[in-house]
């Protein structure tokens, strides 16, 4: 690829990058179906490692601000992620934190509960790993030909906006394809002067309210005497609010935009669309919400009911740990 300044064919440039992520966001983009042809018709793909060959030095050679739109998915786990985040920030006019990882840390952010050594132990030294010599990755290694390096592993995963300024956030794990298509439609309209971009810092491709507001289940302000794991239930009432059935559902704090797909399928909301508008700390909001449905004023009985949530930190921060007020548990930052 030998892309030079502005564009070889007059079309604005588009980039998509994956940092610490699973690749689901890229699949979600491809899931928009024939809309992807509109992307091709309106944009020149300048850099998209998962879809086409490209070298970082080609991006470095582009003039600053020459990429119109960059969808950045994945958290910042190592020095390579950080370097590319800073590079793409320089080269892009619009940088979107795309998906839950880039917006709030997501599942890779749960590693912020563990120290770097605990993470490496799990990966390289458990019984399921064939590593008889106990080899661990080294940041630097001296070869006869000279020293080689791999990216440095950071103790704490960060969200994209904890590393570089971000223009827009698009939540979801992954973002729903119809929401991606709507955002692409909007950007194309903006290109043709038919629409305006939302204010900087806005959350795009989602609602502002909560999953509960989209959920058709009935809420009776019923109080519960125990929390249950959904897989332990023989019967789930198809109409009653899941939380009121004792199922730990994260809907009350989670941003709308998915269409409440999970609760409609009798599965609890796990919170992949992140905090709703006005939620300062996602987990704190859930602590308040869950505490409100407990039907007891007796400390001992409350403790007993709370035993039904065996891992509250994981329950309340499954997607939001890196983006939360506390960001990382003590073992992670104490090293």
């Amino acid at each position: 690829m030998t892309t030079q300044s502005p564009s070889t064919n007059g079309k604005p440039k588009f980039a998509m990058y994956w940092a610490a992520s699973c690749g689901g966001c890229e699949i979600a983009v491809l899931n928009i179906g024939e809309k992807i042809l509109d992307v091709d018709a309106n944009f020149e793909v300048a850099f998209w490692p998962v879809a086409m060959d490209a070298k970082y030095k080609d991006v470095e050679a582009m003039p600053d601000g020459s990429i119109l739109l960059t969808l950045f998915n994945g958290g910042i786990r190592n020095s390579e992620n950080e370097e590319i985040a800073k590079l793409l920030r320089r080269k892009s006019q619009i940088l979107v934190a795309f998906g839950s990882c880039a917006s709030e840390g997501c599942i890779p952010g749960l590693a912020n509960l563990s120290s770097s050594n605990q993470i490496l132990d799990t990966v390289y030294s458990t019984v399921s790993t064939d590593n008889p010599q106990g080899i661990r990755p080294q940041h630097k290694y001296a070869m006869p030909e000279g020293e080689i390096q791999i990216p440095k592993f950071y103790p704490v995963l960060r969200t994209l906006d904890q590393v570089v300024p971000v223009d827009y956030y698009m939540p979801g794990c992954p973002p729903e394809s119809h929401q991606i298509a709507a955002v692409i439609d909007l950007v194309i309209k903006v290109l043709h002067g038919e629409a305006q971009l939302p204010p900087k810092g806005a959350v795009i491709g989602a609602g502002g309210s909560t999953v509960c507001d989209d959920c058709p289940r009935k809420r009776n302000v019923k109080l519960i005497k125990k929390f249950v794991r959904i897989q332990d239930l023989e019967h789930i009432d198809p109409e009653l609010c899941l939380l009121e059935q004792g199922i730990p559902c994260n809907g009350p704090a989670t941003r709308s935009g998915c269409g409440a797909l999970c609760p409609q399928a009798s599965a609890q909301c796990i919170g992949c669309y992140g905090p709703a508008d006005g939620v300062v700390d996602y987990g704190a909001r859930l602590v308040a919400a869950f505490a409100s449905v407990i039907d007891s004023n007796d400390p001992e009985e409350i403790e007993h009911i709370l035993d039904g949530i065996p891992d509250p930190t994981g329950q309340f921060y499954r997607f939001n740990l890196a983006g939360s007020l506390l960001r990382a548990a003590r073992p992670a930052w104490e090293g």
Partner: protein, 157 residues
Amino acid sequence: MTENFEPTIIGFTCNWCSYRAADLAGTARVKYPPNVRLIRLMCSGRLDPAFVMKALAEGADGVLITGCHPGECHYLEQNYKALRRFLLLRRTLAGMGIEPGRVKLVWASAAEGVRLANEIATMVEEIRALGPLRWPRWHTWNGLFIEEKSRAEGVPA
């Protein structure tokens, strides 16, 4: 390190009872350690768990939540709500590596100035024994390991 360590404790008080208890302690010249910074809420039920997290994330070594005795809430039963939130919050914070003793719930009526002063004094000593929390100031964090040196020397992060 813990000898000259003065804990910073944020105390949330209820307008109708514990804030008046603190006021009473002051009027009656009951002494208690100056480590606690009191913030008045209308009710312990107003306490958003995010207040506690923000306090701990921004330099507090402990948080004291106070409210009316059970059955005596000015708003009927919001202190029970505070109790339920507190118990769940404490479990959530434990998962983040924050000792349960750093967040405490105490009931104190408007007449219990001495009791509140004693509770504060006890908590200050408990936090002193636990040592500084020293949660990272994330906005100035450089992405690398927290500097061992500043922690060992007891310099505020």
